[in-house]
């Protein structure tokens, strides 16, 4: 953590941003050489830009974009990004335009992360102030977590790979970040819009509803009320004004209203664009239905792939019940564990919510790409201040690594876990 701080300190934020953009622009010119778009880690059947191009082609030749089992994305993406699959600049790589769009999406996400980080930092400082702890920690020592998170998001190889790999995940990530930004800066319509779009694009961000509710209900970062009460009992002065607000239902109802409005809007748009091609039911069947049933057996990183692959391998075997049991218990346990996490983490840090939710939503997701991990890593940056020595939080990335690197990386995981265990006393000492 110290190292990161020094590095960030010596360079300015914007230099890094510009450097990362230039790096991307250079890489864009060699998509053939990198051949990233053919990697299953980068573009799954859900996020592949190639499939989007196929869907657009089918739509242009007046067929349903979902005809055949090629495209499984949103019809809105088809109308927005579809033209980019055909238009190309003479003498330039084929998908240059779309690569540029994904670079822009990445930069916008980074900016949103930065703004959110600043919001969180302000809220954190305010709550420290209200606890009269500001004097104990020098403000200058406090890291600009927004800048760090944005840089982590922009500069980490996962994001770059996802951006180069012609997948739609930069856009999906942008929607997720938009939702969190809205929730942290209390722009409820924006948060609802982000949530609806993110859910519409890839279904799994629906789990974001839990942290968003907490964020809206309790404010971006509020220390537990209990702490205040304890503290003020000691002092025997109870300043009602300084007390953080209780969990309030007003913004949540507001959020629900806006979410409803936006989802009706999105559905109407989808309905219009799919009017001749089977309508909304067709869309639900081949997007959400596809995500949930995992008809496509293309390999994906992560343990779950083995599950699904084997579930399909064992289709005619009696073992399938056993495997279904595990799969069902797994998918059922994810929200339950998430809730447990929320309650547990709320007791000592509200921010942990976002992380916990993310790691879990990554666990639950059936097709999982580098883009998702990029997002997770980026958001981890918000909590640089809190991460120091927090075993509970660190264990999540370890589990996450276990998932990402798959079974073949078991040894790697062991080493990390061992490092963690042996490293723990040092943390305690520091």
């Amino acid at each position: 953590m110290e190292k990161v701080k020094k590095k960030i300190g010596s360079f300015s934020f914007w230099n890094w941003v510009i450097a990362s953009i230039i790096f991307r622009l250079i890489l864009i010119y060699f998509p053939k050489n990198l051949n990233l778009s053919s990697r299953p880690e980068v573009s799954t059947p859900l996020t592949s830009f190639r499939r989007l191009a196929e869907g657009y082609w089918l739509k242009q030749s007046s067929m349903s974009p979902y005809a055949g089992s090629m495209y499984h994305g949103s019809p809105l993406l088809l109308s927005l990004l579809g033209p980019l699959t055909i238009n190309r600049i003479e003498g330039q790589p084929n998908h240059l335009l779309y690569s540029l769009v994904s670079v822009i999406a990445d930069v916008v996400s980074a900016m949103l992360i930065r703004a959110t980080g600043q919001n969180l930092r302000l809220a954190y400082l305010r709550s420290l102030e209200s606890l009269d702890l500001v004097k104990q920690i020098e403000v200058s020592e406090f890291l600009f977590s927004g800048d760090i998170a944005a840089l982590i998001y922009l500069c980490n190889p996962f994001t770059i790979v996802a951006c180069m790999g012609l997948s739609t995940s930069p856009i999906e990530n942008m929607a997720v970040i938009l939702c969190l930004y809205g929730a942290c800066s209390r722009l409820i319509p924006l948060a609802a819009f982000g949530w609806v779009i993110a859910t519409h694009l890839s279904l799994y961000p629906a789990i974001l509803i839990i942290p968003v509710i907490f964020l809206l209900g309790c404010g971006p970062d509020s220390p537990p009320r209990k702490l205040f009460l304890q503290r003020h009992q000691q002092k025997e002065v109870l300043n009602q004004l300084k007390l953080p607000p209780r969990f309030s239902w007003g913004p949540i109802i507001h959020f629900a209203f806006w979410a409803f409005l936006w989802s009706v809007y999105v559905l109407v748009l989808c309905g219009i664009s799919l009017k001749q091609f089977g309508g909304l039911w067709e869309m639900f069947k081949s997007t959400y239905g596809f995500i949930l049933t995992v008809e496509d057996l293309s390999p994906n990183i992560g343990v779950l792939w083995y599950f699904f692959a084997e579930e399909l391998l064992f289709d005619s075997f009696p073992c399938q019940y056993f495997i279904y049991d595990i799969a069902i218990s797994h998918s059922a346990s994810t929200p339950a564990l998430l809730l447990g996490f929320c309650i547990r983490c709320h007791m000592f840090h509200a921010q942990v919510l976002s992380i916990s939710k993310f790691s879990l939503y990554l666990f639950g997701c059936s097709t999982f790409t580098v883009g998702d991990s990029a997002l997770y890593l980026g958001l981890l940056g918000w909590f640089v201040n809190e991460l120091a020595g927090k075993y509970a939080i660190l264990s999540l990335p370890v589990l996450w690594i276990c998932r990402v690197e798959g079974v073949s990386a078991m040894l790697n995981h062991d080493r990390k876990l061992r490092n963690l265990i042996t490293g723990k006393p040092q943390d305690a000492k520091s």
Binding site: W57, L58, G68, M70, E295, V303
Partner: protein
């Protein structure tokens, strides 16, 4: 005629289930107009440029409309007529083929090659005369019936993932066509025997006597075909009953006995052959049930041009004189039997020379004097068969088990050049090519990646492709179908069509027995609708009776099939499931274990406690050491500080667990590498 038609209209009104009563009721009405069931057998022999011989057996049975004689048949196979009635088949073709037709040396521009050259394996298409929503059910029943009739696995064509519905590029184009192929079906005598059973004389008499199994299957190409057309219950009014056309096309290598003794200089001479030398049998008279029984010898246009018949200039007039000897006693070859008739092709639109057909009547021969035609070559002759306008071949591109591309390349042949020079005065002449390609669902084609190259230059798809119909494949539901109409410039040398695909993944029970062999992509059909392969021989009354020659006169578009492609797919190690269960369970145990651990741990308390411990200055290493020594001594260490020991105990347990998992992982890794 009015009398004849009236029952039909009535019949249509009454409906299908009352057929039988109708037949009985109306059977007596058109007694005098009744047509007889007919059967004819013919054999066509044709020398091929590459020292081979083409033998084309053509058997045709026809049944008059069923109302005239109920469901009784004299000659016509009952199994087929029942099949036609039950499934209301309008037209159907089933072919079993082994080997590949060599379009370059055996030709592609004559009626034989364009309608009898078939893709390897089984090909079945059928047109039904039933409502649109019943077609699939009829098709399924038909495949099962045929599978039983011909001892073949045609029933695999039942599933929707194997057959397709061509819209317009497949020649018998109409909405009710279903088309399916099984490229990897092995064809053998067990398929031929039931096919022969449909003939009234089986292989006991007549021309079918020549069908000697070992010599047939020794050939280079073998295709048995069954084509049936039925106008039964069609709304058009003209009712000709059912026509069943059975053909067997074989390409054989005549191994003349003296081939070994031939000098090196005579190596290029065509091998001489006779029926007994190629089939090992002779024809001893006709099948008594056959209306006509004849053997033809066809000399190709190219061959005729080479042979330089003396009276080529006034060929038409000479052909009329049947006795004109110069046609069959040529200085370059000699026939062992005098032909009964000689036909000269009337006119040919695409070639200067005309082909010659020798006809031999089998009726004249008997057991005592068997028919054994032979051809003896005297001088070496080299010629070329007339080829398709463009020679089509298909191949795979790309490597790896993830993705690839299919390329169809069209190359101009010597024929095109001649044709183009003739037509180029029009200025803008275009060559229309139809491509019909079916791909199984596990080859997922990206239609947007279709590229067209003309003369090795990439061209815009919209410039070349006039019309495209694509129906993308649905996983495990339907195959992908691509129908394209190409408009190529006449002077094209090469044209290529490439399309990319991803390889899909199958479930373990969907793999065929030998999965590592690869999966076949059925042949693409390349047809040239502007070119018609037909041979019109002199219009003579006697000729109309010959089904084979009238078949030749039909204008059928030139068609060629491409090669079958073999795509290797990812095949799992079929012993993997056990390993996978083990590893997944381990990983999940680890995941849930550590998650629960995280959930129930009180970090703050532990930190406080550790701080306290640090203050007490008990280092971690000595603690571990003492624990280890205690363990070695086999005695439980005295719990000095009960809470810390519990936490470190958890740690050691965790380490053990981790090592266990690591061991498992190493084992697993080792097992797979």
């Amino acid at each position: 005629m009015v009398l004849l038609q009236r029952p039909h209209i009535l019949l249509l009104l009454i409906g299908t289930h009352q057929f039988l009563q109708c037949w009985i009721a109306f059977g007596s009405v058109n007694e005098e107009g009744q047509k007889q069931e007919e059967f004819s057998e013919e054999l066509l022999l044709k020398p091929l440029p590459d020292h081979k011989l083409l033998a084309h057996f053509h058997f045709q049975s026809s049944a008059p409309p069923s109302i005239s004689n109920g469901c009784h048949h004299h000659l016509f196979p009952k199994a087929i007529s029942q099949l036609v009635q039950k499934f209301r088949v309008k037209e159907m073709e089933l072919s079993f083929t082994q080997g590949r037709w060599n379009y370059e040396s055996w030709g592609g521009f004559d009626p034989i090659s364009s309608s009898n050259a078939k893709p390897p394996g089984v090909e079945l298409w059928a047109v039904f005369d039933v409502p649109q929503h019943h077609i699939d059910a009829s098709w399924k029943n038909l495949t099962h019936t045929l599978s039983g009739l011909f001892c073949a696995s045609i029933n695999f064509l039942e599933s929707t993932a194997t057959y397709s519905t061509p819209e317009w590029s497949f020649p018998p184009a109409s909405g009710n066509v279903r088309y399916g192929t099984l490229p990897c079906e092995a064809v053998c005598t067990e398929n031929l025997t039931p096919w022969l059973k449909l003939l009234p004389c089986r292989d006991k008499a007549g021309i079918a006597l020549l069908l000697d199994r070992p010599s047939l299957y020794r050939g280079f190409y073998h295709s048995q075909r069954l084509h049936l057309t039925s106008t039964e219950s069609s709304s058009e009014g003209i009712d000709s009953g059912i026509i069943l056309e059975q053909t067997l096309t074989v390409v054989l290598q005549p191994n003349s006995g003296r081939a070994i003794e031939v000098h090196a200089s005579e190596k290029h001479i065509q091998p001489s052959w006779s029926l007994s030398s190629i089939f090992g049998k002779q024809v001893s008279g006709r099948c008594v049930l056959a209306k006509s029984s004849s053997v033809y010898l066809l000399l190709d246009r190219g061959l005729v041009a080479e042979l330089k018949f003396p009276s080529k200039e006034n060929g038409k007039s000479a052909a009329n004189g049947l006795t004109s000897e110069n046609f069959w006693s040529n200085p370059s070859f000699e026939l062992s039997v005098n032909p009964d008739r000689i036909f000269l092709e009337e006119s040919s639109s695409h070639s200067k020379s005309l082909s010659i057909l020798y006809m031999f009547q089998v009726e004249k021969y008997s057991e005592s004097e068997p028919f054994d035609i032979g051809l003896m070559w005297k001088v070496p002759v080299a010629w070329l068969c007339q080829q398709t306008p463009l020679h089509a071949s298909r191949f795979l591109m790309g490597s790896g088990n993830e993705r690839g591309a299919i390329a169809i390349s069209l190359k101009s042949t010597q024929f095109t050049e001649g044709f183009m020079s003739a037509n180029s005065k029009d200025g803008s002449c275009e060559l229309r090519v139809d491509v019909f390609q079916v791909v199984p669902w596990y080859v997922k084609v990206y239609f947007h990646s279709l590229r067209v190259f003309v003369d090795q230059q990439p061209r815009a798809v919209s410039d070349i492709i006039e019309k495209i119909h694509a129906s993308p494949s649905k996983d495990k539901m339907s195959p992908g179908v691509m129908e394209v109409v190409l408009k190529l410039p006449c002077r094209v040398n090469t044209a290529a069509l490439t399309i990319e695909f991803d390889k899909g993944f199958l479930r373990i029970d969907e793999y065929p027995p030998d999965a590592n062999q690869g999966f076949d992509i059925p042949s693409a059909i390349i047809s040239f609708p502007n070119f018609h392969a037909s041979m019109v021989f002199l219009k003579d009354d006697s000729l109309n009776k010959s089904p084979l020659l009238s078949k030749f006169q039909e204008k059928c578009p030139v068609m060629s099939y491409t090669e079958v492609l073999l795509v290797p797919l990812t095949t799992p190690d079929f012993s993997m499931p056990y390993n996978v269960i083990t590893i997944t369970c381990t990983v999940f145990a680890l995941y849930f274990g550590s998650l629960l651990n995280v959930l129930q741990r009180r970090v703050a308390e532990e930190e406080r406690f550790l701080k306290a411990k640090a203050a007490k200055k008990t280092g971690q290493l000595p603690l571990l050491l003492s624990k280890l020594s205690a363990k070695l001594r086999g005695r439980r260490r005295e719990p000095l500080h009960s809470p810390p020991s519990s936490s470190s105990f958890i740690n050691s347990k965790l380490v053990l667990k981790v090592i266990l998992v690591a061991g498992l992982a190493v084992g697993w890794q080792y097992f797979f590498s």
